[in-house]
């Protein structure tokens, strides 16, 4: 009979450390998914964590291990989408079902679950589950939380309402878009005022969330202009916001946050057409925004506006090629039924 090798116990004061080891590895995966260059590495690591945490996914939603397993699932779905894999959308839809669908909520003692829900609303908006994103975000923002967190969550509610309105506009439903935009503007301005107060009270670190809430407000106004409203101040205010962003430390805002602001500036050039080369400037800025996204998930208005700018600069062949590329990417994220995908496919 062969001699069995004695099992060597790992040397550690913490024999019960498995959950913390997984959490440490998850932190690593989280950072890798923030990088546009490390998507494959993030995906490999998340595949491992996804498989490790599988048994906990069906647990009680207030249980820490279950919330962690669902966080892993969320991150895994996002990494798949960034890698261009449509299974990512399925993962996010499966997660939505596990969380309770549109009625998803967190009990008063479910802080980690509430944070997961709040973060998940961004993904729901990105995969065009707009009703769920707005409903859940409103519920999460209504929880008893700190004033700072409440201001951020209000900004999020406005942002997801804005995206729902964009969907309606791209579907040709201007009447459906307008009420959302008007409500979103009120909420976004509340968030701006709250952040403004924090900054005035000496919280210098609130400058970044202040700019973010301003960006949401100005984006809502940009969409209102798309629906025919007049807003003479928008180009100047948008330029001032981008100038403030450019002057801030490079670390304060991500390229993606900057991209959408610059993209919106591009849209104003198309909307207002006040300068020589307006269409070219629009194209340059929208292209800059598109290039900045890399493999990140995108807001559907951006490729549609860039295609319009290409057409406005008399580049129909370029617009057709771009529309095909953008539609293929967007279909993975939002499904082939999304109105932006249809618009782009029709133009390709």
């Amino acid at each position: 009979m062969p001699k069995l090798k004695k099992k060597v116990e790992p040397e550690t004061p913490r024999r019960d450390a498995h959950a913390d080891w997984a959490l440490g590895a998850y932190h690593r995966a989280y950072i890798l998914t923030k990088s546009r260059r490390n998507v494959d590495a993030a995906l490999r690591l998340l595949e491992q964590l996804y498989s490790m945490t599988e048994p906990a996914r069906d647990g009680d939603l207030v249980d820490g291990a279950t919330v962690f397993a669902l966080r892993v699932q969320r991150r895994y779905g996002l990494a798949l989408l960034r890698a261009g894999d449509p299974r990512g959308r399925d993962e996010l839809l499966d997660l939505l079902a596990r969380l309770g669908g549109r009625d998803a909520d967190a009990p008063s003692n479910g802080g980690p679950l509430a944070r997961l829900l709040s973060d998940f609303c961004a993904d729901l908006s990105n995969i065009a589950c707009h009703e769920e994103a707005v409903e859940i975000a409103k519920r999460v923002a209504a929880r008893e939380i700190s004033a700072h967190r409440e201001a951020r969550r209000l900004g999020n509610v406005a942002a997801w309402m804005l995206q729902r309105a964009v969907y309606a506009r791209l579907s040709g439903d201007a009447d459906g878009a307008a009420p959302d935009l008007k409500d979103a503007l009120v909420i976004a301005r509340d968030a701006v005022r709250a952040h403004e107060k924090f900054v005035a009270a000496g919280a210098a670190y609130e400058a970044m969330p202040f700019r973010e809430s301003r960006a949401i407000e100005l984006s809502v106004r940009s969409e209102l202009v798309q629906l025919g409203e007049h807003d003479d101040e928008l180009p100047r205010e948008l330029s001032e916001l981008i100038a403030a962003t450019e002057r801030a430390e490079s670390w304060e805002e991500s390229y993606i946050q900057k991209a959408y602001r610059v993209g919106r500036l591009g849209v104003t050039h198309l909307q207002y057409d006040r300068e020589r080369d307006a269409a070219w400037r629009a194209r340059i800025y929208l292209q800059l925004a598109w290039d900045s996204l890399g493999n990140a998930l995108m807001r559907p208005w951006l490729p549609v506006a860039l295609r319009d700018a290409m057409l406005a600069t008399d580049d129909a062949p370029g617009a057709a090629v771009f529309a095909r590329i953008a539609a293929d990417r967007l279909a993975v994220q939002c499904s082939a039924e999304h109105p932006a995908v249809r618009l782009l496919r029709a133009a390709a």
Binding site: E11, N38, I242, W251
Partner: protein, 305 residues
């Protein structure tokens, strides 16, 4: 290849001390005595239990004073009585526990950061106990993050971003009390000292990128101090964790530990385009005057393409 998560014993002070002692005695440093590991667990868990009434919210210096008060002076705490009972019964609280056994026990768990503290009112034993308990909740997270780094390497920028993120999350979410009191525990006469636990971790991360660099240990020590200062600032000023991360990344950049932020676009063709576009944008915003008609130049470039 499957990801195997497991311990990195060298991150633990008790193991690091034991290895140093064995190496100094000419013995195999890789063998660690299990009873010391077990005692480390007992001490850490008892300290955590003892600190159960310390509110983790608020000013970190106040939290530290409250935590330290459990282990200094003549006040009798459960920790002292249960762990170090006096041989003889006494009604005087200061004699109800065995101070000598306490000091002797701590010998193996002390890091180098506080060894020069000789005066009684420096409260070295109390500080050491707090660090033992603090290490207990942090190190497993560091082990998990480091195992993942070794399993799937990335650039120094993303490895250190992962490292800072793990430490910041621990302090802000996982163990808020330890996160708040670790910097005061390592602050002597207003000067923050490096935390050997964190220094060993950062040295390991640096080792993934510059294995032969003689300056790595000094850099790791500097990053250790910078991390403690950033956490303390964050808690003092009520900053969100993102602000702490920004401080750490900015400092790591200025120390040359990580590369500059990567270019805006991923592929090289787009990179050239984005550089020109940024110049156009800066011209329009009045941040910088473009040297020529950039928009026109880009138009021509596009037409030629």
């Amino acid at each position: 290849m499957r990801l195997e998560l497991g311990p990195f014993p060298e991150f633990w002070t008790v193991v690091a001390n034991h290895r140093a002692e064995r190496a100094a005695a000419g013995k195999d440093p890789d063998r660690t005595r299990r009873d010391r590991l077990r005692r480390n667990v007992e001490i850490a868990e008892q300290v955590q239990l003892e600190l159960g009434d310390v509110d983790p919210n608020g000013d970190p210096d106040v939290i530290f004073q409250h935590a330290l008060s459990h282990f200094i002076g003549d006040e009798l705490s459960d920790f002292r009585v249960e762990r170090f009972p006096a041989e003889k019964k006494t009604i005087k609280p200061e004699r109800a526990w065995d101070r000598g056994a306490f000091d002797d026990m701590l010998k193996h768990f002390r890091g180098p950061e506080l060894d020069d503290l000789e005066k009684a009112d420096d409260h070295r034993p109390g500080r050491v106990l707090l660090l033992v308990a603090t290490e207990y909740t942090l190190v497993p997270l560091l082990e998990g993050a480091f195992a993942a780094m070794q399993w799937g390497p990335a650039s120094a920028r993303y490895d250190f971003r992962s490292a800072f993120h793990t430490v910041t999350r621990w302090a802000v979410e996982v163990d808020q009390r330890s996160g708040r009191l670790v910097t005061p525990a390592l602050t002597v006469n207003g000067v923050v000292r490096p935390w050997s636990t964190l220094t060993r971790f950062y040295a390991a991360v640096l080792g993934l990128h510059r294995p032969q660099d003689a300056a790595a240990d000094a850099l790791a020590e500097r990053l250790s101090v910078v991390t403690l200062e950033a956490l303390h600032h964050g808690f003092k000023d009520g900053e969100p964790k993102g602000a702490v991360m920004r401080r750490l990344m900015t400092e790591a950049e200025s120390l040359g530990v990580i590369e500059e932020m990567p270019a805006r676009a991923i592929d090289s063709a787009a990179q050239a385009r984005t550089v020109l576009a940024e110049l156009v944008l800066q011209g329009e915003l009045g941040i910088a005057e473009p040297p020529f008609d950039l928009a026109g130049a880009i138009r021509v470039l596009n037409a030629e393409a």
